[in-house]
């Protein structure tokens, strides 16, 4: 399949049209939705309308993504489409505004074809927590696609769209990317505006990009990155040309590997694939160095205190008052809140709200939340020290390939441990990218993860592109457009 830059250039030159690309994506989305359940809404009329607008523009040169079809995770606000966050509690909510990232994509000429399924409020690692059914992994539909951006990952993996947006709070872009054999990029905290991304963990959330090609991820990041006055947590850091150094070789770049992180708990085929990818980087001329992240083993504990605490606060707004679902027959306001939230939220969301409420409650704040934030500082210091010795740290993205539906739903803690390699990046705020690095004996994708210093997306993309060029994943999922 061609890159989005080639697609866009073809549209600008008049060799093809935005309409043709959009029709193709819409047809694929509709055809595959019964088998994958990747989309919660497919907006045929709106997308074709938008495509027509793009085609009618005489001056397309200023549209870097002219006619490129996109899928958007259903926790990112797109005016005119639903935003359900995979939950019943938002009811028929249709946001009256676009997320900033969406405004930027639209201004660049892209066409949004629909909203993708996800774990409820982005809480999950398997897309089994959606109120609207699970998403299936296109490589094996009896297995999970990962989560929480399972729908976006499946849509890209199955060739429905070349690129999608997701969100990543503890790995929710990178982990499904790994399980679905696509590229998944989480930028530095503050690189991309969170305005219009429904908040889960405000100190952890970032909008991320899923793509089949690293160069496509770079092109999308180019458009959505940058300071936004509507999001005070975006940083005033210049946006470089993310495509400029993509094709440079990686000779002399230093890749850090922590042997401790390749120990027990890692599926032997994942370990083998990672060892092979380390060799691949050696062949490409990179230098492999040992690094240590001594507090990484506490990352899940730190994450499930901080993320749940922040979520308990962020999800307080879903109360049936101003939008979304409101429970019937509540005699007074307090009962309405309680019934609305009990009927509207699924079990994982309730679990996390309660955990978060507990760790923030009177008498426990210091013991849990403050302590976790202190260990978070120690983890950040681990990364700072590691990046003195290397340009990127390489880890598996996930400890195992895609697991079966139902395998981990009854054991929340076992489910949380899927995020063991990815949560570190959200806690430290560093950027990370997952790149397919092989298939298991069962034919399931395995991902390698690269983590870099703050604002080093260009170099991460370069390292990822070098790998993808040298070792492309020459296989397609069973379910493909």
């Amino acid at each position: 399949m061609e890159s989005i830059t080639n697609l866009r250039d073809g549209i600008v030159r008049g060799e093809t049209t935005a309409r043709a690309a959009t029709e193709s994506a819409l047809n694929a989305a509709e055809k595959l939705n019964d088998s994958l359940n990747a989309f919660l809404e497919i907006d045929r009329a709106g997308a074709l309308n938008r495509a027509a607008q793009v085609d009618a523009q005489s001056e397309k040169a200023g549209l870097p993504l002219a006619g490129v079809p996109f899928a958007i995770k259903d926790n990112i606000c797109v005016r005119g489409m639903q935003t359900s966050c995979g939950s019943r509690i938002l009811g028929p909510y249709h946001p009256p505004y676009n997320a900033t990232a969406i405004d930027r994509l639209i201004a660049a000429g892209s066409v949004i074809i629909g909203k993708t399924n996800c774990d409820e409020f982005a809480m999950g690692s398997s897309n089994e927590n959606s109120a609207f059914g699970s998403v299936k992994n296109p490589w094996d539909i009896s297995r999970v696609p990962g989560g929480s951006s399972g729908g976006s990952a499946a849509a890209v993996a199955a060739g429905i769209v070349p690129v999608a947006l997701g969100s990543d709070t503890g790995g929710s872009v990178r982990q499904p990317a790994a399980l679905c054999g696509v590229i998944g990029l989480k930028p530095t905290y503050g690189r991309v505006s969170r305005y219009g991304l429904v908040a889960f963990g405000s100190s952890l959330d970032q909008i991320g990009v899923l793509a089949r090609e690293v160069s496509d991820a770079a092109a999308v990041l180019q458009v959505i990155a940058g300071r936004d006055s509507s999001d005070a947590t975006t940083a005033d850091v210049p946006v470089p040309d993310y495509s400029a150094e993509l094709n440079e070789d990686v000779k002399g770049l230093r890749i850090g590997v922590s042997r401790a992180l390749l120990g027990e708990g890692v599926h032997p085929e994942v370990r083998a694939a990672i060892e092979k990818s380390i060799e691949a980087y050696r062949d490409l001329g990179a230098e492999i160095v040992d690094v240590d992240l001594p507090h990484a083993k506490y990352a899940i504990a730190v994450y499930y205190i901080i993320a749940t605490a922040e979520a308990s606060s962020n999800l307080a707004r879903f109360d049936g008052v101003r939008y979304g679902f409101r429970a019937k027959d509540a005699p007074a306001l307090k009962e309405m809140y309680r019934k609305t939230r009990d009927e509207g939220f699924g079990p994982e969301v309730k679990r996390r709200i309660m955990l978060g409420t507990y760790v923030l409650s009177h008498g426990y704040y210091d013991a849990y939340y403050l302590k976790a934030q202190q260990v978070r500082t120690l983890l950040r210091q681990d990364f700072t020290r590691a990046f003195e010795k290397c340009d990127a740290v390489l880890t598996p993205t996930t400890p195992t390939p895609a697991f079966f539906f139902g395998e981990k739903v009854d054991d929340p803690l076992a489910m949380y441990l899927n995020d063991i390699y990815t949560v570190t990046a959200n806690l430290a705020g560093v950027p990370g990218i997952s790149v397919p690095c092989g298939l298991s004996a069962d034919g399931l994708p395995i991902g390698l993860q690269l983590l870099g210093p703050y604002w080093s997306e260009a170099r991460l993309l370069r390292l990822a592109h070098a790998y993808q060029t040298a070792r492309p994943l020459n296989a397609r999922p069973r379910v493909f457009a």
Binding site: T233, A235, V302, E335, K339, D342, R351
Partner: protein, 99 residues
């Protein structure tokens, strides 16, 4: 520290969640297990370590996020009430507050 069903009920009250008996029975051991798991952090010496509140990078902390104190366009009543479960003239109607 084990979390009991009574604890769950108290937490649910704080979080404005009305949970069923089945949910309470399901959640108590699960949340208890998770709390026990996170308590491993107590073993770490964090004396004089600054908490990383907010998640900002150093560049993020240096970014000036003030704006001029000038009136900007806002959502407006019509749009704000469009999604309301029970809109009334210029406000959101809810069940009685005091019971």
């Amino acid at each position: 520290m084990p979390i009991t069903e009574a604890d769950i009920e108290k937490i649910a009250q704080l979080a404005h969640l009305e949970i069923t008996d089945d949910e309470r029975r399901l959640f108590a051991p699960q949340i208890s297990e998770i709390v026990t798991y996170v308590e491993q952090l107590n073993a770490i010496d964090t004396t004089a370590v600054e908490p990383a509140l907010g998640g900002l990078t150093p560049e993020g902390e240096q970014t000036v996020s003030w704006r001029r104190d000038e009136v900007q366009p806002s959502l407006g009543q019509k749009l704000a009430l469009e999604q309301a479960p029970d809109p009334a003239a210029g406000h959101f109607r809810v069940p009685k507050v005091l019971s």
